[in-house]
Symmetry: C2
């Protein structure tokens, strides 16, 4: 096969004009059934597949949307992505996924890729402050929806979960269990979600006299990063370690559990209580079942697609921000 069949080849084969073939593909009712059958037969015979680049060039825009997630390996994001794909498929659209891995360079790379491809829009969980870059993409006609991030001054639609509330609930839960020397385990400090969870945590601690909040930094927001923090804690002199840990996500918390519970030293929850964030499927099956803050991942993904499709209308409404409320799930790691 030297060259893929084009619409022109189909037209020749069927003995009709190219415009007619195009009509068969896009407006079947405009074509008489005999002609239509002849064209469809030619298409089947030649194995013709429409060239989306050409269609897009003429149409000015693609029908697919791009999604950029912070960590495709995090079950929370894969749930969000999956729900988004399904919602898009139902609407006759498609989602293609890029994984920034918290790396602004890779994120930028995907934004540019999507912009070059003139995608319908971008669903993005930003690594940090990319609003300038996104504004440029929007100026080029892409619709932007921020996912799991608050709207940037109503410029873009967004779907988020109230991270400050989540952080507050998590630490409040630890305080209610009688813990006072709380530590927050975060990673990349520039990440908005993490900042907000920390802010909520601070607010909860401030309400209880005598309670303190220490901030620990993990290498990254992964199981491995959490294991590192756990290793550090085990090396502390007894009594100086916190009596409760609030981890910025479940992966971190699972890493801490791996380090503490398996390699010995501190016991969970007796010596140190632990709560994570996201309530991923693995949280319930950890060595010590992990308390967590549940976020409605599917709902987030679905809503993100809806917000984007809303913006693709001829007269798009003003950008909207949807905020969900997270929910405490108490398990053994905090004494339940």
């Amino acid at each position: 096969m030297v060259r893929a069949a084009s619409i022109k080849d189909v037209a020749n084969q069927a003995g009709v004009a190219v415009g007619t073939v195009s009509n068969v593909l896009n407006y079947p009712d405009r074509v008489s059934s005999t002609t239509r059958d002849r064209v469809l037969a030619a298409i089947a015979e030649l194995g013709f597949v429409r060239n989306d680049a050409a269609r897009q060039l003429r149409a000015g825009r693609s029908r697919t949307m791009g999604m950029i997630v912070l960590d495709a390996g995090n079950p929370f994001f894969s749930s969000v992505a999956r729900a988004a794909e399904e919602a898009a498929a139902r609407a006759g659209s498609a989602v293609l996924l890029g994984n920034s891995s918290h790396d602004p360079r890779r994120e930028r790379h995907y934004i540019e890729l999507f912009e070059e491809q003139r995608m319908q829009g971008i669903l993005i969980s930003p690594t940090g402050d990319v609003s300038a870059r996104l504004a440029a993409a929007e100026a080029a006609g892409l619709k932007i929806v921020l996912v799991d991030a608050p709207s940037d001054g109503q410029r873009f639609s967004s779907v988020a979960v109230d991270n400050a509330a989540g952080g507050y609930v998590a630490v409040r839960h630890l305080l209610d269990a009688g813990r006072r020397r709380i530590a927050f385990v975060g990673g990349n400090a520039t990440l908005r979600q993490v900042q907000d969870r920390l802010a909520g945590a601070r607010r909860a601690v401030a309400e209880v006299p005598g309670a303190t909040l220490e901030v620990l930094t993990a290498a990254d927001l992964t199981v491995l990063g959490g294991r590192g923090v756990g290793d550090d804690l085990r090396r502390r002199t007894p009594g100086t370690a916190p009596d409760a840990l609030f981890c910025a996500n479940d992966l971190l918390a699972l890493g801490v559990i791996q380090s503490l519970a398996m390699l010995g030293g501190l016991r969970i929850p007796e010596d140190i209580a632990l709560i994570g964030y996201d309530d991923i499927d693995f949280a319930a099956s950890a060595v010590v079942p992990l308390s967590s803050i549940r976020q409605p991942a599917e709902l987030i993904g679905r809503t993100a697609v809806e917000l984007l499709l809303e913006q693709t209308a001829d007269e798009p409404p003003a950008p909207r921000s949807v905020v969900f409320t997270p929910e405490l799930v108490a398990r053994a790691s905090t004494g339940h």
Copy 2:
């Protein structure tokens, strides 16, 4: 903004011909530095972004490749995908991800999407027998690499892990621990990987007189599916349950652990030993640290991209099949 800036607008702005702008973008050395600077200034001023659809239309093919995975929520696949993305980025290419979720319809949808987009190629973990569909895509010029699946008669390049060997090693390990009433927990029976792991398991059982192999079916290859199997086992009359379980993947095994160890009844590994497959990060931090069969996910992803790039050469070599060997990781769930 009515319309995104085109190369023609840039040419006007800079006072040069469109061909020159194109040269600045693609062959900067062909252009004098003064002209180049002028063009670059115009590009910056207009916020010009190359329209990839037009470029592709002219070039005949995209520079990005599509990847279709069976389950983006499975950490094994997300590791593979991530490694592939990185390898592609290093080669100046990009990977966009689609998630078939074991659904042949969604898989087909993505294949067609990639074909319409005239992607460079497709990296795919097929759900079942899609070789006819893939052959059509190949005839249209896409390069195909089968990922985590054996080659289909050398027609396509492929990168796989010897699943039969993995299944054999897993069950051999259970037998060596003195277990005799083995059960295999699989899901979708049409999945080649699962079939092969079962075949390896059968071979190991056949070598030991008195050993038996029962096959249990999970609703799907997820944590939830495993939990269902665990619930069934707990309801069996004592003594009729198997004394060892080989799960087709770690998600299943973790689900079984959730059901058995947490809700009580059978103890792991005393009453029932357990081994999974993939050795995902969460395996080590389970309630009972999970023995597993490790697959080199990063290596698989990287190799897949290499095989694809190999095929994009002007004179592509014959398709190659790379097969890796899995490795036993023994932990507490089998008595270590």
